[in-house]
Symmetry: C2
Subunit: 296 residues, 2 copies
Amino acid sequence: MRCFILLTALLFPSLAVAAAAMPSPAEIVDAAPATAWRNVAPEQLLIMKLADGDRVVIELASDFAPVHVANVVRLARSHQWDGGAITRVQDNYVVQWRVHDEASPLPEGFVAHPPAEYERPLKGLDYTPLPYPDPYAAESGIASGWLVGREGAQIWPAQCYGVVGVGRDMPPDTGDGRELYVVNAEAPRQLDRNLAVVGRVLQGMEHLSALPRGTGKLGFYTDPHQNVPIASMTLAADLPSGERPVFQVMRIESRSFSRYLAARAARQDPFFVRPAHGVALCNVPIPAREKTADHS
Amino acid sequence: MRCFILLTALLFPSLAVAAAAMPSPAEIVDAAPATAWRNVAPEQLLIMKLADGDRVVIELASDFAPVHVANVVRLARSHQWDGGAITRVQDNYVVQWRVHDEASPLPEGFVAHPPAEYERPLKGLDYTPLPYPDPYAAESGIASGWLVGREGAQIWPAQCYGVVGVGRDMPPDTGDGRELYVVNAEAPRQLDRNLAVVGRVLQGMEHLSALPRGTGKLGFYTDPHQNVPIASMTLAADLPSGERPVFQVMRIESRSFSRYLAARAARQDPFFVRPAHGVALCNVPIPAREKTADHS
């Protein structure tokens, strides 16, 4: 409810609250008990700091593109993201950034030509199918907490809003992880199974999505002064424990998630006159939050 | 192709061109002949000027919400948008703006309580179904050049990226057009058939999508100084002919559009290793352009 409140709703919030017979997805998330959440391991949490101090928190997709993810982490540990820059913001598509210097020596263990980790076997992951049709996959679902498409025994992470992937050149070359992108609008799912997904933004997406669009071809900034400087990318596990943020994502098996999904697919809160009875895969973002003292 | 070009592609563009056996959707649009385009009538073109000079061009959806559209136009002609403001930017949802003063007398002919123009009969409009499944509709398609869902004999405009709708309070009240919103990311199609659609952005969406996100509830700006002032909204037909921009949208019945749609659903350009063979309705934005001397 109150998706498009006018002034009256601001003046008379009691009226809106009184009408709230069924909760909205956001209200279900806010009311979820501590048991509905799981901590993201600090080894799977990458903290991107922009030079202006803004923070973007990324959960790594180690189940889906482990070699690419390991490359990104090696670049973080060897500080190659420090002084990097966002160089491309294409409206309704992606924001893209790169390491400080692509001529720098590669860190030890870096895989210069990773395999095309665009899909993987379903086997070995918890999987919950979604009952709604998906124009990009035989079936869509949630695997190990990630939104995925499925075809036969193979699954792949869907290129949804906030998903972080690895830029690459023409096939069969694949990117090595020194250029990353994040989806900034309508999910460009034509990219599914064409690029490696290494993560998703859990917090701070607004620092990337609100950046000025580049006016060059494909949204590249035309003047280096337009580039948005990156201070660092750091694995949470590499921070002193006192500085290490804790992030949580909602457990798919929780009752809260079932209710959230049901509400996403059929809005029953008072604002809605006609529920859709269906939902697109990328319109079911997995709830995430920073764990604070209030959440203990 | 060149969706995620690295430096090599910039240095050796000839290699990329040589490999371009099949065109990308953008290349198909760029190569479309003059006959593939139709002019948007100046009575259906609303020019929003932000106070900083940025321009957003909106095509009105008179076939879908004529009473709401007429209200918006009456507000424009009585200058009630002049001095209005963008007051809300919610990440991955909507940008919302309002008239200068909601206490101003309503213009003559203004309909204070418009009907709920959320859907309409298919009858009377050219309609082309799309063959891909849609989680929000029995069928999706294109009606009079607009992306729509269909159920039985009724259709409605889909709430895609760049679609402009009318903010409202709780049902059964509907908005009157003095607060508008535009979708700024993943299509919130749970709003389909719940709000009146009055237009779509043909040019300048980046001036709205890149605005700072509001930090208040629902993305409202918390300080009036954050509001983004609007200079005016003017119907193109009301401008002197010399200042009147001409916009074109691609004809759905053109061969160029057929090729564009096919390429959107199955990318065959060299960047792609695996075409999707399907596409979401909102991922087929109807091509639009400003007509210039080059296009005659």
